[in-house]
Symmetry: C2
Subunit: 459 residues, 2 copies
């Protein structure tokens, strides 16, 4: 059934007050879809539908709802309901949810959690945002190395229901240090009396609580993991992070890169839900910064006023007419190089050690690309501009070639230098590179033009 | 131990011919890391190390090697070794690998696979690239609805070792139609006599063989799946796709978006391994295309030659000096909008139905952003340019405001129109938008300038 049809049907059951059927219909849907349906409801209906949901799935549905709807709901339900909800949620989902709420609401929610859960949540809320600690969950199963497969299976049957994953077993020693992991599939294939220590994998890929989420994502992707264990400063196991949460991290980090590369202040908000004022605020500082840099570009042109206005024949106006093409091509060439370098850096395919290798590569690319565009530009300026001679065509084409080399060199070097300085390479993408290349390319342009014109006899 | 130290140690064991120790040392590493180590070896050493590896992990290591090293290795090993390798690989890895090889090598590999495997591989190679069919694997476990938990566990113990996942059970009817899935964790918790049909989940998220990989990734991400089943045209189960392969797809698609948005022909090759000539080839057509469009921008300037050269006082040179700032700001504004729209479209947060909503939002953002830059530009042109009066400052600032509105409208509308036309919205990113905005903004600029100058008394 199409999504619109499903939605219509649920709405019709809701309107008619056929709550039993509505409940039945919703139970046929995935929790993600129920959450999406709940996004469309107003406060009153939201509360009603939420209370109709079976208890065992309402916490899951709640995790998938948007921050706004979560808050609306929390503000309308009673303290007992809040307590039940928080108790049913996985710890990492509860922490994520609380991080998005205003302080007053957080206080009310925490007052209603049971003391043990409250302590845990408080502890998790202290990890820095975007750290492994803030992403992890404690819903995993721990085993001792001397446990047998039979004992392990019993524990899984007894306690596995509330865990985020039972597919990786984490094996610790007496002092809570992680000594190995074991895939459930491997354990199922072993005989019941086997001791876990004999079949566990001692070569564990792990992260520390304060590691950045980008590092965590890199490891999970690299080693194709379903979950990664998190240890504290003393190397004791304190949590795990599951692959589905990592996919969300990757999506978030990629969006952040896209935004920084377009000179936008990164934001977690969905576009259609963000106010125009907030959107404008994310854009204005960058535009102003680049407009300030462009003042210098303007000064270069003013500086060559005499050249532009007093040059013989059509020289001046042709030079002016070619400025946009020169600037656009420079900007585009810089954007091409910087994008490849930024992406390569973020995927770990390029490291700072490759600086000269990459620069040398970009230089050779620029020579080839420049040669093609040199010929194109030489011919088109000479033959498509009224009053153009070979000298002005040469000035434009030569300046373009130089600009391409410079743009590719800067597009390659600047993201790597930014990384070297501990800044995000994504800041050195198209807008910033374009602005800097513009300035330099106009300087090259007029220098070449002055040199050529001094050799041309006045008209 | 640091990666460099590990590598050095392996190299030293290799040099000294201590193969037993080398084998032992490698077995302590993850397959991904062994593959990375093998990337650094020349042909002879590569072959040697590959033969030292224990048989049960060599196929895994092989899957993680780069296309070049795989080919080098295939060309040096014997037919029997090829047969063993292909037999030990998961089918989806084998297909991926063959898709990257030259036809002659593929032929030799296929001749050496056992007939059953060869048929399967041939069948998989026929699915279009980037379709669900080309990504799927057949290493999953099928069950009947009437099977009991005990029977299912027996089958898992017997056949689970060679499957890509045993954590989701796929339940089919007599005609091979997928009727439900069951999470292993749920089954483990059920009593041994339970019939699978009673506890399975009938609400299955699935894809068809010809669905695009982007759709598959979208579903896996949306529903936090570990694996997704693939059915054929008659809705029969034919394969599954696991989440780790989906992460690779997401990475690949994101890189493609980054490349298209920077006016690059997308390429699967790693940057540092691609020749300058190939890199240049990916860039030249786009640069030429945009250079051609820029010819029209030049024509607009030539058209206003008289205005620029005969305007009273410093009017002409100030107008010229402000062209770069106008163009850059327009380009940057367009890039900001188009990036948000393209990303929103690709994450499914914005759909074509939101066209007018998004356009209206961008319009309001443009009004706010434009107002700030209007004031900034008015003041800076008036006071930072020698000989500038309020009229020329007004021309620049007003043209800038109009340009910002236009740039944001185009940046919002063009990616959505591209999508409507079945093109990739990523093509309508910064470079293309900038080129188009330049042309229009210069037109606005000179129109306003002409209007103003006709009211200013000659100096």
């Amino acid at each position: 059934m199409e999504w619109e049809a499903i939605q219509e049907r649920l709405n019709s059951l809701l309107e008619k007050g056929r709550h039993g059927e509505l409940r039945g219909a919703m139970m046929m849907l995935n929790e993600v879809d129920i959450a999406q349906y709940m996004e469309t409801l107003d406060k009153e209906k939201l509360l009603l539908v939420f209370r109709i949901l079976p208890k065992d799935i309402s916490a899951d549905v709640f995790s998938y709802m948007s921050a706004e709807q979560k808050q609306t709901l929390i503000e309308s339900i009673g303290d007992n309901e809040i307590r039940a909800l928080i108790d049913d949620m996985f710890l990492d989902d509860a922490v994520d949810f609380l991080e998005e709420l205003p302080a007053s609401v957080v206080k009310r929610v925490l007052q209603n959690a049971d003391p043990e859960k409250r302590n845990l949540i408080n502890q998790f809320l202290r990890y820095p945002e975007n750290s492994a600690g803030s992403l992890m969950t404690i819903e995993y199963l721990e085993f001792q190395g001397r446990d047998t497969v039979r004992q392990a299976m019993d524990l899984i049957r007894k306690e596995g229901l509330d865990k985020e994953t039972i597919y990786t077993l984490y094996i610790i020693d007496a002092t809570h240090h992680l000594i190995g992991t074991l895939a459930l599939r491997k354990m199922i294939l072993a005989s019941e009396d086997t001791v876990l220590a004999d079949i566990m994998d001692r070569n564990v890929v792990l992260v520390h609580t304060l590691d950045d989420q980008e590092q965590v994502a890199e490891l999970v992707r690299r080693y194709d993991l379903m979950a990664i264990p998190v240890v504290d400063k003393e190397d004791r196991l304190v949590g795990i992070i599951t692959a589905d949460d990592i996919m969300d991290v990757i999506e978030e980090e990629t969006t952040e890169d896209f935004e920084k590369m377009a000179a936008l202040t990164p934001s977690d908000d969905e576009y259609l839900k963000t106010s125009p004022f907030k959107l404008a605020l994310n854009r204005i500082p960058w535009l102003l910064l680049m407009a300030v840099i462009a003042i210098f570009t303007g000064l270069i042109i003013t500086n060559y006023e005499t050249l532009l206005q007093d040059a013989p024949g059509k020289f001046g106006i042709i030079l002016t007419a070619c400025i946009p093409m020169l600037m656009d091509t420079g900007g585009n060439c810089g954007a091409q190089s910087s994008t490849l370098i930024i992406r390569g850096l973020s995927l770990g395919q390029i490291t700072l050690k490759d600086f000269f290798k990459a620069l040398w590569k970009e230089f050779r690319v620029a020579i080839i690309v420049g040669a093609v565009l040199f010929v194109f530009t030489l011919l088109r300026v000479r033959y498509l501009n009224e009053g153009a001679d070979w000298s002005v065509a040469f000035v434009v084409a030569a300046a373009l070639w130089c600009t391409i080399i410079l743009a590719k060199a800067l597009g390659c070097a600047m993201p790597m230098l930014a990384k070297k300085l501990g800044l995000d390479p994504a800041l050195m993408a198209s807008p910033m590179i374009t602005t800097i290349v513009d300035m330099s390319s106009l300087f090259i342009y007029f220098t070449i033009a002055s040199a050529v014109i001094s050799r041309v006899p006045a008209a």
